[in-house]
Symmetry: C2
């Protein structure tokens, strides 16, 4: 991928006549200890979410229903990725500005994170992000 | 709840005009360190899943789309719970036999677990479960 500190990861998935199971082991498929997760849903069409970066927190995104587009930006390069496959997850490391857009109705975005909530870990001002990322 | 080693937990949820976010902090909302997660999806109607217990592994279930019914059994008491709310999660401790049924089309069941995969932690024979649970 073009944007630094990001990469696509395919989860181990077991498929049979009873359906599919995708497995995410912490410190293996998810490349950190899973301290916290959150899931985003019920997003009205046309709304955007995200619009911040993290100083240290690492995250992995997966879209479990519907689809959503992630705009990734490392301060130099910018890239858009549409997530819709529950097997395919997106690692987003520190100092990546990400914006979520084009939520389809019923979309569920699930995120694994490497740290407990800490307000000081967020960079919410784009100018500050650009200075910090350089 | 009637079945021992099980309980319902409500996740902290932030709701505004941009949608909802439900947060699960490990060792807090999720009452253990999150070592592993898995998600089940694409289950054809009429299929059942689960049908085993764990010796030590603790799990928390949430339904992120659609709905699914969980049959819980501690060897003495039995209870059915239908999951459909992404804020409401179900803790299932060790030595609970659980069966998943009545998956609606598009259902996604997400599970947080307290241990990495270990085949010896599974009890797959019901007779053995009943003996162990007593």
């Amino acid at each position: 991928m073009l944007v630094k500190n990001t990469r696509s990861i395919k989860l181990h998935t077991f498929s049979d006549s009873r359906g599919k199971v995708s497995v995410a082991e912490g410190e293996k498929d998810i490349p950190f200890k899973i301290e916290r997760t959150f899931h985003i849903y019920g997003v009205p069409q046309g709304e955007e979410r995200g619009g911040h970066a993290h100083r240290e927190t690492e995250q992995v995104y997966v879209c479990l229903n519907g689809s959503v587009t992630v705009i990734l930006n490392d301060g130099t390069n910018k890239e858009e990725i549409t997530l819709r496959d529950p097997e395919q997850v997106l690692y987003v490391g520190p100092l990546v500005w990400s914006v979520l857009k084009d939520f389809q109705p019923g979309t569920v975005l699930f995120v694994w994170t490497s740290k407990h909530y800490d307000a000081t870990d967020y960079i919410r001002e784009y100018d500050e992000f650009i200075k910090t990322a350089k």
